[in-house]
């Protein structure tokens, strides 16, 4: 075991250190350096990837439910929009939300986006369940701040940097990366020849030789996916009852 002992200091060294301490005390009494942000008169400046209040754009939502599936706190519930829309959109319960923003990461359409809003107040628990309609527009915010504050680390010390500007609370979302896909048949021999894929294809990419008389004359049904027309929407993949169609990455 090693015994901890006070290091030996000379008289000069001790006097130097006392003088430095008195110096800092005098400096602080003239220009106090506080680490406190005077919210709401000033706001801390947040980075663009700050995980704050969620906004939602129903136009971009593809109804994949991925946000609800991935939410680890079970804060996102899908609610059916009234007829004739009938689609399901997310609602967020901020009483449960842990602001992990997995929902935004999982949103393939870019319908969910973050803001720098972190100060929404509710009168009761029930209000924290935010319905889809309430997520489209940001909540009402009264801005009293005139300055924005940033922490800076200088010489192992934390300083506050105040600037006379009001920080914007909204961030332009990064557009989602689109991977070009195309529908392909992966098990041609298991095809039933039901032509459901052709029927559901909205871009007219899937065609078959099912014209009157042709089928009987030839004895075979010829199926074709026009890869130039295929938009990779995946409707045929979903509808194929034998599950032999797949979306594959479009080659270069």
């Amino acid at each position: 075991m090693k015994k901890v002992s006070v290091s030996e200091q000379g008289l000069v060294e001790k006097a130097k250190r006392h003088a430095a301490a008195v110096g800092v005390a005098m400096k602080e009494s003239v220009t106090p350096l506080t680490a406190t942000v005077f919210y709401p008169r000033e706001r801390k400046k947040m980075p663009d990837n700050f995980r704050g209040y969620l906004l939602f754009d129903p136009e971009k939502c593809i109804n994949c439910w991925e946000c609800a599936f991935i939410c680890p706190a079970n804060a996102i519930q899908m609610k059916k929009a009234p007829a004739p829309n009938n689609r399901f959109y997310p609602t967020v319960d901020y009483g449960k939300c842990i602001f992990c923003h997995f929902c935004i990461d999982s949103c393939s359409g870019g319908a969910l986006r973050t803001t720098k809003i972190h100060d929404v107040a509710y009168r009761e628990m029930g209000e924290m369940l935010t319905l889809t309609e309430e997520m489209i527009e940001p909540p009402e915010i009264i801005r009293e701040d005139k300055k924005s504050v940033e922490y800076e680390i200088e010489k192992d010390d934390l300083h506050l940097k105040r600037t006379r500007e009001v920080d914007g609370l909204f961030v332009e979302p990064t557009p989602p990366v689109e991977i070009p896909m195309v529908s392909q048949c992966v098990d041609r021999a298991s095809c039933l020849g039901c032509r459901v894929c052709e029927e559901v294809c909205e871009s007219g990419a899937i065609s078959s030789s099912s014209a009157e008389g042709v089928l009987e004359a030839e004895g075979v049904l010829r199926m074709k996916i026009d890869i130039e027309k295929c938009t990779g929407c995946g409707l045929c993949v979903k509808e194929c009852s034998m599950q032999i169609l797949r979306l594959v990455r479009r080659g270069k």
């Binding site: 195309v182 392909q184 048949c185 992966v186 098990d187 041609r188 021999a189 298991s190 095809c191 039933l192 020849g193 039901c194 032509r195 459901v196 089928l215 009987e216 004895g219 075979v220 049904l221 010829r222 199926m223 074709k224 996916i225 026009d226 890869i227 130039e228 295929c230 009852s241 034998m242 599950q243 032999i244 797949r246 594959v248 990455r249 479009r250 080659g251």
Partner: protein
Amino acid sequence: MAAVAAETTTGQSEWEVAVPEKPLKEKVYFENLKAQVIDTELCSRCLTCAAVCPALPEGITLTADDKVGFPDYEEKCLDCGACVRVCPRFEYEPKSGLGEYTDFIAGQSKRFKGQDGAMVTELIVSAIEMGLIDRGLFVGRDNRWATNIFHVRDPEQLAITTLGGTKYTFASVLPELKRAVLLTKSGVGVVGTPCIVSGVRKLQQEFPIFREKVKLVVGLFCTENFHHTEISDYLQKKGVDFSKLVKTDITMGKFIATMTNKTVKFKVKALEKILPSGCNVCTDFTAVEADASVGSVGSAAGFSTVAVRNENARRVVEFIKKRGYADFGEGKPEELAFLVGHKKKRAENIPGFQDQEDK
């Protein structure tokens, strides 16, 4: 613009599907099936057609009178011909006899309780333990003895006691088999009557997806099977209380319903009135197309007879022997002669079969 050569090695953008011939040229395929199989009372109700019918969610199904039908086929039939391609009785080639087998043994499971030796359960569960398959389809029943299908993935699920034992009622095994095939990773095991086994083979012949994924087909010795409504009505008339019924069995020409407090016995001949028309034209007693056929006849009481027909089934039996999961004895194929002959005679009931014989 050939620059967008999307072709990856994983897929194809052009393919051909052979279209089966239509006897009735002007009609849709389902109407052909209806005219050739259902209306001629050849239909065995194996539901192979319903398993592949793509006209979802309507499609080919069981109608209220327990027959195969397609309520709105004039409007909804996609005319693809899949039902005709897979129907084992569209171009009916009746099979009969004992079929080919490599081993004819008697077995009694030490782990499970079933109809006799519980060898069906043992075969499927052992195949799961071997890793040959990852799920087996079992026919369960509700408290009215109506059938439903279970995906068994773990031997512990067999704590549901209604999964073992014979039900003598049709079950929708094949539509569930398709679901299982699409879900499975390594393979599926399936148990069924000879007509269901024939349906599985037809599916495998037509579609590679079934060839790859259905790895073990256990056939059951079968003289006939019944519609649920008809047999339950009949049994109730005979004084069978379904809430107390624990086992049904056919032995020595007698139907025996065992209840907790009493047993009801009557001659199986009495059931001929409700014999389904599909069974009336079926000549296959031993499920000759199965990987292994299991039944009660041909072995001592408490044992199941197992006819091992191919490599997959032989490997499973070897596995059971190695682990000591079951006791084995000699099977007696000659004991099956009467019932095999009995079913072979039903060929007389097949329309046009006599003509074929004469040719």
